[in-house]
């Protein structure tokens, strides 16, 4: 039986989470706290310099050690959550937004438009995401905004493609045909059936995408095209630590761990949500 996407009830979703999903959920909640209220976890100033404490290894005073200017890495990692995750969210938002427009236009529009968009998406698809992002940054110049736009634009073709296939399947489904036969207007059919059934499975994909986007934005920052030091952004911190990697490993390890843990937690959650969509 071809059953596209059954919506799981909340309780069923929670039951499916465990045990990896529960850990991921806790991590994501902790990340949210760090992003919204970093002072709660690390009350210090992420930009305060203390030259006498420069390059101190991890200790009770400085949990993650300090950098070359004596800034506390732990404070910086915690305060870096909001920009790093925010950038990831914004990039994913842009990617999905652009993907939505392309996907719906391609899936529901006239055949000629679908064919044309299909070719464009294929060409964009041929370039690896990071290469395309670098290309866009090269045009726009470095900076946080440019990095976000670049990653967003570079991920859009992927989302467009997923959406188009999904829109096609839903638009051709028995329930959409039945609604039309009942005389339901096109816009209503779209709002009632096509949009929800297309967007629901996207929740999982998007959660996966946020983790990925954080990694990519960090990569751009690391390469010096994104957020510039001394802002406490994880990718930029990696970039700053690069020079000292043989003497002060803590400068790269901890922001790197933050990226890995965040991306992993979001990916695990995303897989669970996407799995629920498949059933």
């Amino acid at each position: 039986m071809s059953n596209p996407v059954a919506a799981p009830s909340l309780r069923a979703a929670f039951a499916r989470l465990r045990p990896a999903g529960v850990v991921a959920l806790v991590v994501v909640l902790a990340i949210l706290v760090a992003a919204v209220w970093p002072g709660l976890i690390a009350p210090g100033d992420p930009l305060a310099i203390a030259p006498t404490d420069a390059l101190a290894p991890p200790s009770l005073a400085h949990l993650f050690g300090t950098d070359e200017s004596g800034r506390d890495i732990f404070t910086r990692v915690v305060h870096g959550t909001a920009p790093s995750v925010g950038i990831g969210l914004a990039a994913t938002g842009i990617g999905i937004g652009a993907g939505l427009v392309l996907g719906f236009a391609s899936g529901l529009g006239p055949k000629a438009l679908d064919a044309a968009l299909g070719r464009v998406i294929e060409v964009l698809f041929a370039l690896p995401t990071l290469v395309m992002a670098l290309l866009l940054v090269a045009v726009m110049g470095p900076g946080t905004g440019a990095a976000v736009l670049a990653i967003g634009a570079a991920t859009a073709p992927g989302y467009a493609r997923i959406l188009r296939a999904r829109v096609r399947a839903v638009a051709g489904s028995g329930y959409v045909e039945y609604a039309r036969l009942e005389g339901t207007r096109r816009t209503r059919v779209f709002l009632r059936h096509i949009a929800p059934n297309t967007l629901w499975p996207l929740v999982g994909v998007a959660t996966l995408g946020i983790g990925q986007a954080i990694v990519w934005v960090s990569a751009l920052s690391f390469l010096g095209f994104g957020t510039l030091p001394p802002s406490p952004e994880w990718g930029a911190m990696l970039n700053a630590g690069r020079v000292y990697i043989s003497t002060a490993w803590w400068m790269t390890i901890f922001p790197g761990l933050a990226i890995v843990v965040t991306a992993t937690a979001l990916t695990v959650l995303g897989r669970t949500a996407a799995g629920g969509g498949r059933r």
């Binding site: 039986m1 059953n3 596209p4 996407v5 059954a6 028995g174 329930y175 036969l181 059936h193 929800p196």
Partner: protein, 502 residues
């Protein structure tokens, strides 16, 4: 009926993880050259029994299979390891698969498909071909030598079923297990396949025929065992069990099988609701050009009458339904309606696909409602409990889904229902319930119904007038009982003979 029985089972109990005991204390004996039919509702355990006879259930680590006696051709197979079961399958016992349309690999030739049993056992290639040809002949495949190189796409449904039967025969297994071998086939094709199974039995093969169709049982089986919730509730010679059933489950099965004419007399024909003239609908053919699925058909439906449309798959009956309901536009011809236009609603073959999977039954019904009826009231009209409104279609049974589909159609207070094979995916007792419901609703509300089915007995049960279609054209039409009593067209006669219909 000499020598050892081909199959001897005493006290077979099968438990599957999560479902508990699927089969309980089952006793079965099949003599050489005998056909035993196992009948029962879906969920009775028929398919698990078939799988167990082939040692497939035993393959599952979590399944528990216990029996006092379990002998295939005199050999105790109770503790047989997997390796030995594999050696047994195809040679001592083999399976005729259910779905001819899906069980063949589209990339493999008939020869490779049928010869697989032999290839696995390292039968040399030249000998293999002879034996494959013999099996194809035995399975009654016309022009067998030419078919060797063909793939399943080149074969019709009946030929595919014969290829599957040949696959079961090729290893020379004396015991065949056939799981619903004719369910996916048109009635005329099914009749020929049943003749073939009967001939194989006459040649000395033993047959376990698993089916929900008592008509099939009456045609080929010698004895029948009735399975209900994993237990055998009645067993005996076919004539005895079907003629004077003792157990209530057997009686219910017999009563549910559609037979005889429509119970209520047709009301005098009302005004014309919809008239189709000279409809033609063409589809692009795979090889280029076009095929007319509906080719010059005219139909008119009057208020309050039930028009049955019968035909085999590919006869154009579903396309005609889609044209009438407005899901497709005709390439030629017109569909005109009375004024004001009647409300037409569709009862689909697969109602599940026409429900938004995210919606509850209540929301589905509310969205389609054009009257003051509540979802609960609509459910009551189709014999469903009111608390179903909170459920989603995925959690309903096939019969419940079809009832919800009918409730949804009624929600619009329709003048005409177009039912496209509404019961062909349901088992007999569920089917009987849906048919009774449709007939009752039609009589109570004065609905007009167009009832499309490949099953003549079903159409006869509900229709006042019947239209017989073949290759996109109408070959015969008239009052149902007139057509059944004195069919004029040879194709109608063949359909009636094949379908039993009485």
């Amino acid at each position: 009926m000499t020598g050892r029985p081909a199959l001897e089972i005493r006290g077979l109990t099968v438990a599957l993880p999560g479902t508990g005991d699927v089969l309980r204390d089952v006793d079965l004996t099949v003599a050489a050259g005998e056909c035993l039919a196992v009948v029962g509702e879906s969920g009775a355990g028929k398919s698990v029994l078939a799988r167990t006879l082939l040692g497939l259930t035993q393959d599952d680590r979590h399944a528990r299979v216990i029996a006092r006696t379990f002998e295939v051709a005199g050999r105790d197979v109770r503790t047989l390891p997997r390796r030995d079961w594999r050696a047994l399958r195809g040679v001592d016992v083999s399976l005729v698969l259910q779905d001819a349309l899906q069980s063949l690999d589209p990339l493999r030739t008939t020869e490779a498909e049928v010869g697989e049993t032999l290839a696995i056992r390292r039968v040399p290639a030249h000998e293999r071909r002879t034996r494959v040809l013999e099996a194809l002949h035995a399975a009654g495949l016309p022009d067998a030598a030419a078919r060797l190189r063909q793939r399943s796409d080149d074969l019709s449904g009946g030929m595919r079923q014969r290829v599957l039967i040949a696959s079961a025969l090729v290893g020379g297994a004396p015991l065949l297990v056939a799981d619903e071998p004719t369910t996916a086939l048109d009635s005329t094709v099914a009749a020929r396949i049943l003749d073939l199974l009967g001939r194989l039995r006459d040649e000395g093969r033993s047959l376990v025929l698993i089916t929900h169709d008592l008509d099939v049982v009456a045609r080929v089986a010698d004895r029948v065992a009735v399975l209900d919730q994993g237990r055998i509730v009645e067993t005996g010679p076919v004539a005895e069990v079907l003629g004077s059933a003792r157990h209530v489950v057997t009686r219910a099965l017999i009563a549910a099988a559609p037979h005889g004419p429509k119970a209520t007399a047709p009301a005098g024909p009302g005004p014309e609701l919809i008239t189709a003239r000279d409809l033609v609908r063409r589809y692009r053919a795979p090889g280029g050009g076009s095929v007319a699925a509906v080719d010059g058909v005219g139909v008119s439906v009057h208020a309050g009458e039930t028009v049955g449309i019968v035909g085999e798959s590919g006869s154009g009956k579903s396309t005609l339904a889609r044209l009438l309901v407005g899901a497709e536009r005709p390439d030629e011809g017109t569909v005109s309606t009375s004024a004001p236009p009647p409300r037409i609603r569709l009862i689909p073959q697969d109602p599940f696909a026409t429900f938004d999977p995210r919606w509850t039954v209540g929301r589905i019904l509310r969205t389609s409602t054009r009257t003051a009826d509540t979802p609960e009231a609509l459910l009551a009209q189709v014999g469903l409990a009111a608390d179903l409104v909170r459920r989603r279609p995925a959690t309903l049974s096939g019969g419940q889904r079809q009832r919800v589909a009918i409730a949804r159609a009624l929600a619009a207070d329709p003048d005409l229902l177009i039912c496209d094979e509404p019961v062909s995916a349901l088992d007999v007792t569920t089917q009987a319930g849906i048919l009774d419901l449709l007939v009752r609703l039609q009589a109570d509300r004065g609905l007009a119904v167009v009832f499309i089915s490949h099953d003549l007995a079903v159409v006869r049960k509900v229709s006042d007038r019947v239209i017989v279609m073949r290759d996109g054209r109408i070959v015969e039409e008239g009052a149902t009982e007139r057509v059944f009593a004195a069919p004029e067209h040879p194709f109608t006669r063949e359909l009636i003979r094949a379908g039993g219909g009485g």
